[in-house]
Subunit: 131 residues, 3 copies
C-alpha cells in the first residue's frame, strides 16, 4: 500500500506525521509488517523523537545548527549546505514496525518531517509492506 | 516474524545485539529477506559499527559528545537534549539484508543498541520480512 | 531479489549508485515494493542527497570533517575514528520506495556510497522486496 501527504513548512521546523501515518496503517488493513516514511527532498529529513515536550524539537534544531554551521569554505552557491548536511545526518526515511494492527512506536516517540531549508511545500511518501 | 529483547544499560554505552538478532533469524526460518532492528526510545538508538576493537565504541561516544554537547540555551528541562540529538543523528533503527539464511553483515560489523541517557531498561524490537 | 556491486574508491568521496540501483530494479521486474541499499563496511556509508551540483558532495565531506574531527583522546589505534563516526551518523543503508516500476526518488535525489577511509574496494548490497 502506498500513500502520500503534503506539508507546508516554515523556514525550519519539525512537523508531526504520526497521526497521518497511523491513519494510513488503519486504511491499509495490514496488521503485521513494516512502514517506511520517506521524504523525496535533499534539505529535509524524517526522524523519530519526543512527542511530549516541544522544547525537545527546538533543542534538536539548535543542536544541529551548532554541529553543522555555515562554513566560509563551502562552495555550493545556494548557501544551504548546512541543510544538506542535516538531511544526510538525520536521513531521508524512517522504518517503523507494524504489530497487531498498530505502529510499534514507544510512548514518547512521534514521527516528524524535519524542514531545514523552508518555507517549502514538502512531500512525504508512506509505503506499507505486509509480512 | 516479530521478536523482542530487553537490555539493562549503564549511563552511556554500546550493547551488542548481533548474536540475539542472529538467533531470531535462525528461529524464523526465513532465508531471504530483510531484518529491521528498532528501539522505541528517544534517547537511545541502533547502529552498525566495528565489532572487533572496543575502543571504537568508546571513540564513537566521545566523538558524539563533542559533536552534540550541552548548550546553555537548550530549553528542555530534563537536561538530556544531547541524548535526544544523538538518538536522531544515529537513528532509531537499522535494516540488515538476510541472504542464504544469514544476516549479511560485513566481517567487522556488529549491531549495537546505543544508550545515551541511562541507566535504563531498554527494549529492542526485531521484525523479519521474507521476500 | 538480491544484487551486489563493487566500487573502487579514493581516500574520501561520494560515489553515485543511482543508475546501478535503477538497473537492478528493472531487472527484478518488481513494480511495487521497497529497495534497501546496504554497505557492509564500518568506515563507509550510504546516503541520499543532491545529484545536480557536485559542490554539495564536497560541502558534505567538509561539514562532516568539521563535525567529527580527530581528537587527541581517541583510543582506537588505527587513527580512523572520525571515519567510524561518520559511518554511524550517516548510516549503513538507505531504503527507497518502488512505485509503478520506478525508484521513488525526488528530482534532485541521488543514492551515494560515502567513502570516509579509502582508498578501498567497497561492496554494496541491494535487496528488493515486493509488496
Amino acid at each position: 500500500m502506498f500513500y502520500q501527504t503534503t506539508i507546508k513548512t516554515e523556514r525550519e521546523g519539525f512537523y508531526e506525521l504520526t497521526e497521518k501515518v497511523n491513519d494510513f496503517v488503519q486504511k491499509s488493513g495490514i496488521t503485521e509488517g513494516i512502514c517506511v516514511i520517506y521524504t523525496p527532498h535533499t534539505t529535509a529529513a524524517v526522524t523519530i523523537n519526543e512527542n511530549a515536550d516541544a522544547t525537545v524539537q527546538a533543542d534538536l534544531l539548535l543542536g544541529l545548527r551548532k554541529a553543522f554551521p555555515f562554513w566560509q569554505d563551502f562552495r555550493h552557491s545556494e548557501g544551504n549546505s548546512p541543510a544538506h548536511l542535516k538531511a544526510s545526518a538525520i536521513g531521508s526515511s524512517v522504518t517503523v514496525i507494524i504489530h497487531e494492527g498498530h505502529l510499534l512506536l514507544g510512548t514518547w516517540q512521534g514521527i516528524y518531517l524535519c524542514e531545514f531549508d523552508g518555507p517549502r511545500e514538502r512531500q512525504c511518501y508512506v509505503k506499507i509492506i505486509a509480512g
